[in-house]
């Protein structure tokens, strides 16, 4: 038996299969990325997902000959021994691989190519000889992740805020954001009414800023900045009729083109993530010229996550020949109904 786990920032997926690729059970649990969720919570998610997949398959953990865990990052204090404990599988049977390699293997059996994830974050990898050799992007929401769901959603919010306060050009994104936040037609009172009534004091601040802006800022401030990723779809939705939204979508395309260019080379490009699927491919907008150019002549394939790839890597770890691996991969594809990604950032549900 093999156990494959794909630990993402939003959900953790696990799959149990026979070593020739017959899927016997799958399960989903919560966030499994140690950097996003913390090591303890990530390990708990791993444990839950694998235990439930094993239960669904009716397979005890001791029968697992090989387990592959696909996980982003390595600077996070989770070691293979921790993973083995969480899975209930002996340490020497557990392999940890990069989530991007697993994603690549979900869409490609070739030894070389590239992977791109554009979800809440954005990152790309070059794969050579079945190993990731270069990682580009993925530096996080504060310092990197250009072209990601967060990057796009934050720009939607900033453009709307600037339009509402008069420091930026008008844009339909403002009204769309107000509606998205459920603030249109909000008849409630003045949120600024805290002047002390002394006639020599300033008037209440309600007049200093548009009230709707104050409410938007209240709604968006605080909490996890990554929540802004859920605003990314507004850009794609409005781009056909709003010049600023169209510019923003073009800049998303251009940023992703830079990632694709940075990992270009022989072999297919396996791409996925909510922003890629729904925003870039799922919209009627033409690709920007740099993105069209970056994809020219590229064998483009899709993958939702790294679960199938982690299972294929598990088969390969058993030392089977390429033809046997290919047959197992095909069987996995035929028998595994990938469990749906858990909610979280529903519309840009990329799992990084």
């Amino acid at each position: 038996m093999l156990l494959a786990v794909d630990a993402g920032g939003t959900s953790t997926r696990a799959l149990v299969a026979t070593v020739d690729g017959r899927c016997l059970g799958t399960a989903v649990a919560g966030a499994g990325n140690p950097r996003a969720a913390g090591a303890e919570r990530a390990l708990r998610s791993l444990s839950t997902a694998s235990r439930e997949a094993l239960a669904a398959a009716g397979v005890p953990a001791r029968r697992v000959r090989v387990a592959v865990v696909a996980m982003a990052g390595s600077e996070d204090g989770v070691r293979t021994a921790d993973l083995a404990r969480a899975l209930g599988v002996a340490g020497e049977r557990v392999h940890r691989v990069s989530d991007l390699l697993a994603m690549f293997c979900s869409g490609a059996l070739e030894p070389a190519g590239a992977a791109l994830v554009a979800g809440t974050g954005s990152v790309a990898a070059r794969v050579e000889g079945r190993r990731p050799v270069r990682l580009v992007g993925g530096s996080g929401w504060l310092l990197g992740d250009a072209g990601s769901g967060f990057w796009t959603g934050r720009r939607v919010a900033r453009a709307a805020v600037a339009a509402l306060d008069g420091s930026g050009p008008p844009t339909a994104l403002a009204g769309a954001l107000v509606a998205e936040l459920g603030l249109d037609g909000d008849p409630s009172g003045d949120p600024n009414g805290d002047a002390n009534g002394d006639p020599s004091d300033e008037p209440p601040r309600a007049g200093l800023r548009p009230q709707v802006l104050v409410r938007v800022l209240e709604a968006l401030h605080g909490g996890d900045p990554l929540r802004l990723a859920r605003l990314a779809p507004l850009a794609f939705r409005l781009a056909p009729r709003d010049p600023l939204a169209a510019d923003l979508v073009r800049s998303v395309h251009d940023a992703l083109a830079r990632l694709v260019d940075a990992v270009a080379g022989p072999g297919p490009l396996v791409a996925g993530g909510g922003l890629w699927r729904h925003g870039v491919l799922g919209s009627p907008l033409p690709l920007s010229q740099p993105l069209a150019q970056a994809l020219e002549g590229v064998q483009l394939r899709s993958a939702d996550d790294g679960l199938l790839g982690a299972a294929v890597l598990a088969v390969r770890a058993l030392g089977l020949r390429d033809e046997a691996v290919a047959a197992a991969a095909q069987r996995l594809r035929d028998t595994a109904s990938t469990p749906p990604a858990a909610a979280g950032t529903p519309t840009t549900g990329g799992d990084r």
Copy 2:
């Protein structure tokens, strides 16, 4: 006696003067902006600064006829009664004013004009009839504050990170950032060496990303995002020889031009903040065309903070005539040596 307090995001300054403008004592305490520091800490800073200024002046709190507290925001749960308690002054003698109005009054006696602060954050206000009537910008680091020290410093960091990982064009900002963080010539070992040694696993990740990039990300991640404001000076320093830094400086100018335009009208523009003083005015770079245009024909004045303006507003609150207020303002200017702003973001030490 009058008491003036300017409560900023980095420091709180207090001044005690006679009602005709003779400064008797000043003091500085820590952060006094309730949104940045929390209400409790802000009130403690107010209390400390005012108590020490009163002690320096040898004046008991009960002799204060009028106290003016300049403070940003109003949606923060601090009420005039709280301020009165913190100052030890009867509530009916305490007036709270916008920090931007105080800043304006530090540089102008005119009833109308505009104020601009470009420090860690950025914000502008239109003043009419000695009251702020419109606030533009200042929506915080996540959603606004274009052209601020944080905005600039974050762009410096992002450009450097993209250059280091190959997803962006090369720029001298990368080397400058590495040097600024003290990471140049760092000979220490591989920060990524946590592979488990199993030959079927991936090689250690050191090869996947440039080691210097991993170190830069480690140094910049975590903690308060606003710390990135200290990187803003790199843009101004490198702009004369690096095209990307020059573009960034132009975009700072353009963003501030939009703020100036949004509060344009009769009367002087009182401007200040570390980025404005050291970055925009203190650099040999020409103003961008939009900023030059926005400032054309504008009476530009400087103010470091709102302390002097808060004192002038205190004099005015006593109902004196304009000539008496002007005389008191001149006397304040002559006798008050504004206490230096506390450290915090030393090179873009704007206090918002």
